[in-house]
Amino acid sequence: MLDKQYKKEMKQITPSQDLINRTKMAMREEMQSKPKRPLFRKAVALATVAAIVAFVIFSTNLLNQTNDIFFPDNLFTIRAYAMEIQPDGTIKLREVDISQLEGWTGHDDGEALFISIGLWFDFEGYNIKTVEFSLAEGFFATQYIGNFVDASELQQAYVGIDGRLAMYGTEFDKVGNVIKFGDVMDSDILLFWGSYGVRIDEWYLNPIEISVIVTFDDGEIYEQPLRIEFNVPGITTIEEWPQNHSEFIRLERPTMEQYEHFATAPLEDFTLIPESIKVITPTTHFEFYVGGHTPVTISIPTFPEYWDASRIINDPYNQFDENGISRVPMGIRDDEGFIVVIKLDADGVFTAMTYVVPLQK
């Protein structure tokens, strides 16, 4: 049996005696240095002297100071990081404001819809016992970013202000509507919001409400609501497109130079695919169109207030220029690049279309 063979082989893998000896030595050194708490001793000595000199005046302050140093108050902070693909293909995490998404991504596998909360969450604080994330609607799905050491295996999309936010794989672990952590968050867990039986073209970018309940060591419970609003365009990959567009085309990521060209060259230099032109309403999604295949859709926000042209143009985080045009570079296939252009007219009508970009030799 191969499981027995696995055990037989694995039993041969052992740490070297040298490694064991070095580790034991390092542990002994660490343990010898551990009990020293000079700061505490100094604080106590200082408090004693101060108490003699002016007990009534200073004792309370010193006590509080000592408490602040050694027994910090319960504290909880949540942080969010965007995953960015760097020009050399590596992935880097950049801290971002949770309330202001720069872009988002999703995956529709035909049975469930997975929406990337776009972010890698982490939390920190003092005296945290457990942290529980819960959803009133949908379920959590997770991925470990440690699995994405090789970024070339990622299902990639290029969203965000500079088109460098990373996408993810298409395998998820579904963990229900509650996910609980101990005093530290798993170092590299990516949270997704999932919903069964909903296709991307039926999902209207409703905000995701997450309740974060923190239990501290002393029993205090703190609740922090998180609201993720999808008020910027996002991209969704589709495993099985429901309208007979089943062939998936993998587009390569543009280089930074190509990206710059896609983003700045006059649109007149590009070739419009006429059949791709489509007016987008709050209830429609734009199919990215490449030669009859549909690898992705682009979704834009549905909030009524977002459909105010002047607001979009004046929003510093929006991706529309002063002429109401937003370009979404999609990628490269062979010697052609593809971008989706969304035009917003003065009446608040969005029209999306695909352009083919000849690549510079």
Binding site: R28, K34, V175, G176, D188
Partner: protein, 163 residues
């Protein structure tokens, strides 16, 4: 027995007892033995620094498994932003163990599958125990084991025996 001697004895006891387990988990996760060596040392140093009061052997074992897996994951994350040059003298384990058949197949699995496969088939842990240690759910562990078996079936004739 003085305090220093007691600490020294504790170090001997805990390392001798769990060295193989920690090292093998690190080995399944990391690309080479040099990285596994680093993880091994880091995990035991974390044990010294930990303020956790371990109640039983099972408690310390579970803690070591969890910390080893997390330390490996953190190592993956940090390696993204740096180019690591492998030293030529760092012999690839494939060369050291040319007869290995199943270990290379397991090591080719995605890391989350490697962890559950190793804990299930080598450490003989139950699905519930694995879920507890990894702060996961029974359903997730079962699903990961199932996917891992399918992948292994494609890589190896016969696959790994179902639980």
């Amino acid at each position: 027995m003085n305090q220093s001697q007691a600490r020294s004895d504790w170090v001997d006891e805990v390392v001798d007892k769990y060295a193989d387990m920690v090292y093998r988990i690190a080995f399944t996760q990391m690309k080479n033995k040099a990285d596994a060596d680093d993880i091994f040392q880091e995990v035991f140093l974390k044990l010294c620094k930990s303020a956790v009061a371990f109640e039983t052997d099972e408690h310390i074992k579970a803690w070591l498994i969890k910390v080893t897996v997390n330390t490996c994951r953190k190592s993956f994350t940090s390696s993204w932003s740096k180019k690591v040059v492998e030293l030529p003298e760092d012999l690839a384990y494939e060369e050291e163990y040319p007869d290995f058949e199943v270990v290379p197949a397991v090591k080719s699995l995605p890391s989350k599958y490697r962890t559950v496969v190793h804990l299930f088939y080598f450490e003989d842990m139950q699905v519930m125990e694995i879920a507890n240690v990894l702060k996961s759910t029974v359903g997730t562990v079962k699903s990961q084991l199932s996917r891992a078996r399918n992948l292994l079936r494609n890589k190896l004739k016969g696959g790994i025996e179902d639980a």
